[in-house]
């Protein structure tokens, strides 16, 4: 789970240079870049960023405005301010605005790297857990009334999410561009995760509606339904889903916008479970050109009393093979020649 650091500066030559220099730290953090505050905001939406390093004076949106945006929308993301025109006032303003650090230009790249590493360490000051089930850990936090920020890395989809707890109360959740209950439902449905614990919670305003137990219960139900492989990509609206089995009493949640694992994510999950990793998985995409082959396969099935069509494997050349999954939109799982195809096909067929 390598953290991402977003570096924002309007000097694109310097930006390119620092990105190149920071390639040496690729095992500690990866670098994203943006040329101004607006581009940084877009990058924050698209990526799970752990730290922002920003210049003060930039066109469109300056460093201080970006800092204000961070403390409003991403209070967990630390920021380091860098400036060539340092004054005691600007330093004070930056730190008061929520900056975790301050560095004056010109500086040695190693100095900035060590500041970044020091700040990133805070993300995991409470430790990292590799194998504990997420639902069990969340219930422990609630019981122990812990204040912490949990960063969750989904080892299957390689997605990242974040949960904020204040005295055992779930305050907010975030995954990609989603927040609140929607994000919590999605994160709680992950089951192969790494957890990093930070012993503080930067969120003071509660955005989660409903009891934690009820959200967990609903998330499990959604996961169970998702595991029974949908025929299509499109999410059916909640009213089309089956009523949940009455396993335990659960309070009604005011806001219900659950997010199912997408069909490609589910295929990826099955692939990883069968192959051990996704190294031999090249891509998953929809390709209507396979429709004809699948239809012909369905036509010949009765000749062999074969039953319904499950999947089709195509060996095009030694480097890339395709597993085509039937449906209104045929989905192609492109795999490399080193893929353990028999195990993978067995898993996908089921």
């Amino acid at each position: 789970m390598i953290p991402k650091v977003l570096i924002v500066d309007d000097d694109h030559i310097w930006l390119r240079l620092i990105k190149k220099k920071f390639a040496n730290y690729a095992d500690t953090f990866t670098t994203l870049t943006a040329l101004d505050g607006e581009a940084a905001v877009a990058s924050l939406k698209a990526n799970m960023v752990s730290l922002v390093v920003t210049d003060m004076q930039m066109p469109k949106m300056d460093g201080l405005t970006l800092l204000a945006h961070l403390s409003e929308n991403y209070p967990d993301i630390h920021a380091i301010i860098m400036t060539a025109y340092s004054t005691p006032v600007s330093k004070k303003t930056s730190l008061a605005g929520g900056a975790a650090g301050y560095i004056e230009k010109p500086f040695v790249v190693e100095d900035l790297a060590s500041k970044i590493k020091k700040t990133l360490r805070k993300e995991t000051d409470g430790g990292t857990l590799q194998t504990i089930p997420l639902d069990m850990f969340i219930q422990l936090i609630e019981m122990e009334q812990k204040t912490c920020t949990i960063r969750i890395f989904n080892k299957v989809t390689e997605n990242k999410g974040i949960l904020f707890f204040y005295k055992g109360d779930l305050m907010d959740a975030r995954v990609n561009n989603r927040q609140g209950n929607t994000a919590a439902y999605e994160i709680f449905a992950w089951d192969n995760v790494t957890l990093s614990i930070q012993n503080e919670c930067a969120v003071s305003k509660k955005k989660i509606k409903g009891e934690l137990q009820a959200i967990l219960f609903d998330a499990m139900r959604i996961k169970d339904e998702a595991d029974s492989a949908p025929e299509d990509f499109e999410e059916k609206p909640p009213e089309h889903r089956k009523a949940p089995p009455k396993k335990a009493p659960a309070k009604q949640v005011a806001q219900k916008k659950p997010v199912l694992l997408s069909y490609p994510d589910m295929l990826r999950k099955k692939f990883k479970a069968a192959a051990g990793s996704t190294d031999s998985l090249d891509d998953i995409y929809v390709d209507g050109s396979w429709y004809e082959l699948l239809e012909h396969a369905k036509l010949i099935a009765p000749l062999f009393s074969a039953g319904s069509l499950k999947l089709c494997f195509i060996n095009r050349d030694k480097r890339l093979n395709l597993i085509v999954m039937p449906g209104d939109k045929p989905t192609v799982v492109a795999v490399t020649g080193s893929c353990p195809r028999d195990q993978v096909m067995e898993a996908l067929r089921k």
Partner: protein
């Protein structure tokens, strides 16, 4: 004409094997199970045309799978269950290819000028 498929049909779980030539005509077929499938030549021809030039195609159905290997003289189609060592099936197809070619392929070299 079962002899050429003897080895492949002896693999545990293999239901049948068919050789289909380039004109999509069934030239050899052998089955372990009965009743043997009633293959409609038109359906089969249309299907083989869509398979095209892919060197291997494997189609999984609820009850069985079809393994189709393209060879120089046509296609070998093996019908199997799911408790089959597919590596053995592929290996047997590798072995079958030269045998089928010698039987159904066009003669090459000087031999093609002499009648057998």
């Amino acid at each position: 004409m079962k002899t050429i498929f003897n080895d492949i049909l002896e693999i545990n779980g293999v239901i049948g094997a068919i050789f289909i030539d380039k004109n999509n005509k069934i030239k050899i077929e052998g089955y372990n199970a009965s009743p043997e499938p009633n293959l409609n030549p038109l359906d089969l021809a249309a299907f083989m045309n869509t398979i095209g030039a892919h060197s291997e195609t494997e189609i999984h159905f609820d009850n069985l799978r079809l393994y189709i290997r393209k060879i120089e003289t046509g296609h070998i189609l093996v019908i199997t269950g799911y408790n089959v060592q597919m590596a053995m099936v592929r290996l047997n197809c590798d072995v079958l290819e030269p045998l089928i070619k010698s039987k159904f392929g066009k003669p090459t070299g000087i031999g093609r000028f002499f009648k057998k």
